[in-house]
Symmetry: C2
Subunit: 649 residues, 2 copies
Amino acid sequence: MTLTDETATPVHHEDLTALGARLRTALDGPYAAERSVGRATFPADDLLRDPGLDVAQSREWTLGRLRELERHGFGHAGVPDGPNSVSDPLTAVMAFEMLAHGDLSVTIKSGVQFGLFGGAVTNLGTEWHHATFLPGITDLSLLGGFAMTELGHGSDVASLETTITYDPETDEFDVHSPTPGATKAYIGNAAKDGTMAAVFGQLWVGGTCHGVHVVLVPLRDDDGNDLPGITTGDQGHKGGLLGVDNGTIRFDHVRVERRMLLDRFGGVGDDGAYSSPIENANRRFFTMLGTLVRGRVCVGGGAGITARRALSIATRYALRRRQFPAAGRPGGVLLLDYLVHQRRLLPRIARSYALGFAQNELIEALVHVQGPGDSTETEQRELETRAAGLKAMTTWFANETVQEAREACGGSGYLSENQLTEMRRDVDIFATFEGDNTVLLQSVTKALLTDFKREWSELDRSGVMQATAKVAGETVVEATSANLVLDRLASAVRRKPEETTLTDRRWHALMFEERARHSLESLARRMRAASTASGDSFEAFNALGEHVQFAAKAHLERLALQAFIDGIRGCEDPEARGVLEDLCSLYALSSIHDQRAWFLEHNRISSSRSKAIGQQLDDLCRRLRPHALGLVEGMGIPESWLGAAILRD
Amino acid sequence: MTLTDETATPVHHEDLTALGARLRTALDGPYAAERSVGRATFPADDLLRDPGLDVAQSREWTLGRLRELERHGFGHAGVPDGPNSVSDPLTAVMAFEMLAHGDLSVTIKSGVQFGLFGGAVTNLGTEWHHATFLPGITDLSLLGGFAMTELGHGSDVASLETTITYDPETDEFDVHSPTPGATKAYIGNAAKDGTMAAVFGQLWVGGTCHGVHVVLVPLRDDDGNDLPGITTGDQGHKGGLLGVDNGTIRFDHVRVERRMLLDRFGGVGDDGAYSSPIENANRRFFTMLGTLVRGRVCVGGGAGITARRALSIATRYALRRRQFPAAGRPGGVLLLDYLVHQRRLLPRIARSYALGFAQNELIEALVHVQGPGDSTETEQRELETRAAGLKAMTTWFANETVQEAREACGGSGYLSENQLTEMRRDVDIFATFEGDNTVLLQSVTKALLTDFKREWSELDRSGVMQATAKVAGETVVEATSANLVLDRLASAVRRKPEETTLTDRRWHALMFEERARHSLESLARRMRAASTASGDSFEAFNALGEHVQFAAKAHLERLALQAFIDGIRGCEDPEARGVLEDLCSLYALSSIHDQRAWFLEHNRISSSRSKAIGQQLDDLCRRLRPHALGLVEGMGIPESWLGAAILRD
């Protein structure tokens, strides 16, 4: 996507309501210009795949579409096309988002080729790799796979079994799958199109294992046959994403030249000895994995767009479709006039905005860390944590939302021509790939606790821990994952929280802060107890599983509320701002309502206040109902791109 | 299915653990013999459809499989094959269940042909229809559609627009689609295979409309061409159920003989005048729709089996698959040893049992009402309410559970060869067809309130209402949807509920009773207020939407707990009984835990007790973990039928 290309002709024009246009600008936020250009120039003629295509046809269509996008300049998505070009994270993320407006197989195939395979070469390789391979990667003459996952090891990358063994005799690496579990699996581009793969394995040099590294291995000859020692397998029909050719790869002592190792963070020199700029093996491992953060930012963003497409279809349909006649409505009640229907859709629209604002801030952090300027290791780690967490939250949200939208459209929602079932099939796996969501949330909490522990021990040294554990805990959490705006809002009502109204943002801030803070603090206490408990230490930590998930979610909800508040500040139009304030209340109150049991259990709300929240949600839905069309337009999916037959006249 | 056919050879044998066998007997309950014969004789060689088949191939395979089942005696599923045979509800339900162990397109195509089309002819037709059409329906030489739903009218059957107008000149009916919205839609067998349809429309005789009736209309000639005046359409690719040929039908003044009207509840005599055994048009309408109850019983049962298949796959996989290494577990932790994973699967297994026991009682009620003996109108109405409610609960549960199972199997869950994504696609629409779930729950609450109102006014007359409204309310609900066992259990601890343990069945009973009773009672009060409120009466009732859904669910949870308790009583083996007691506690506590906010808000539990529930759920999961295989076997799906590649060695 060439955002600055002045020759690009807008191919798309939409008529929006005034409110819709303003909300869209607000939600597009810091990237309003880029997104606007993207929508105006994206080639949308062949956006959606015919659901009737079989696996072979879907793959052919998808690859063809990718090549067509490349011809239109929407190709390599921020991947540099040679050693003198730079990797541009913003273009990459914007391109992925735009692709997610259409068929998701195209989005993911693009992600595999440019984001993962291209990203590995760019970020883990050095100059020779860039010069040799990036031109082919970006013009699609070299299609590649990202061979990390193994049958026996999904989330547990450190335990990968594939070996990359340096042979000083021939100055080559020997790449090998020693066990059935070492078989690479679910690898995009492996079943058919890929002629090379970036293969993750344990690097052995002179009898010493240096941990996981990545080597480029050619897979197929020009006729598409497996090269000697390579056995690829086709994983065939999947739940969705039929256009992506996922497959397996096994290596039987495959030999590659020494320079095929992507050696930015460690490699073998001319002397046959291993060296690395990062001494500590564990830190090296996480540094290498850390470069993958862009993929998670993209996947979360793409899932967010998918949820918006589904909500756009269901809401626009509910503005047309009439049901049972009722008093004063002889022609039938418009679906969206049923409060139950409003409660199905409007809180999800509110959450879409919240996650969208949070995604904007995540992209800003990504651009900061991966851009040309300097960034600290702390900022990098915070980016990884936030990307992991938002990816989990948004992909789950997308799955549930597409399903809700499907049911909200009744039987017509089930016809493939209305797109919802196809989206649902494709987005399903987003909850698993680029990190299983449950495991990702564990990593979020782990990172929060690491901060916690570090600062705690620093405080201990400085003597502040003379205060009670509780106060210390609060101080610590504030200091680490501090959010000054929320905290200031919360402070103003902390002493008499129940004297606020239910739509008082200060009270929302207080509740979100309390949930995040207290759940992490109490988890830290339980962790400490578990670590000193006698008996089976696995079981001691195992018992904290639900608490770990809760603390991560509470942290991420807080991030989203903060981002929503920041987003409203950026909106200058008073009408749009008023609507966004109501929408933010709907988001915040829905989040509190969903977990009001926790707030009650921890004496953060009274039972009468808790009961009143449902009523307040109804009121907010009624207030937002007249703005439904504008809210949908604000989510930014052009109506003509939705491709749903039920929306055609 | 010929349950008594002594020539049937068992084609299937399973090795079960002792516990598994006993749990299976318990869960099979009153139908243990029928289900056991079903499993032993069901032709399982060609159980699952190749997911790679396209729409045309899927339809062909599905019809072929239906004919094969017919040849094996698993055909017409309780539909009588002529006027001297009787309709057998038990055989119908058992056959549907057994079919749901395999490809769901076959299940639904069978349901369309035998349950809906055959059921309409059987239940709404009279002797000539039975003699003329049932032989062809049962031997599959006459394939038919059930043309109720219209594009403009799904749940709102009373507003159907299709007209069936008697023409005395020719002594024929004129069947017509007056508007685009009158087009029949989503009709199984309409796109391709059906040569006739049972068409729902407004019956007009001599200028008077007698409401919805059903007429048989031939659709296609022997070459498959639409007959004059008929326009069928193919709805093509759907979210799932690709083997069912759903389509649209339009009628342009199609003429059929007078006797083609299914006239059991109303028709036109030789004199050209309308007559009906049921005077009241509204009652006639509900009597006709009431005959459809069997379909809802079947669909709920089929969804329950689907959930069990998914849980069987995910749990058996979690008993094989290892993840990260941990202290004392160098080879990696078995997935099912993670408490988080147990919490994903075991409460769902518990709920599967609860819904299974409830389904058994529902089948008993169906057999009672539709069997040869007498039944009252109250019993019929209760059956309809229960069938509607359990259908909604079980189909939603199936959808969520298959998805949870998919995610619990990670990336391999997404491969079609592991069946979960295919099940998910197929079972999705179960939440919408045979009644949209949200609308069905409204009907449940409406029925409960009708009872409530009737008894309330009776009490008013007898003066009992002199007592406080609250007490009267309680009395009423007890009297109507009384459950003596639960009530007796609850009474024993009503005065000091918090002195019980969290696994005390009496306390569970009390909580379930209180939730159902109080939510209905308070809804009745709000309904009364709404009915006398000034202003927009639609909006007054509209505001109660969430409350209506809650009250229905609370009622159905109570039914399920009761059924579970009844089911345990029927289990004589002490070990199995002990496991079932724990499983019932897990079900009951999960239900309370999910809605503990309600219990807290209504002062039914203290916050410290509420917080303890999570811990208790963990403990129950740990206690049940060693019995996981037996629990899965008890759910009754033979392992070899699961067809999941990940379970093969």
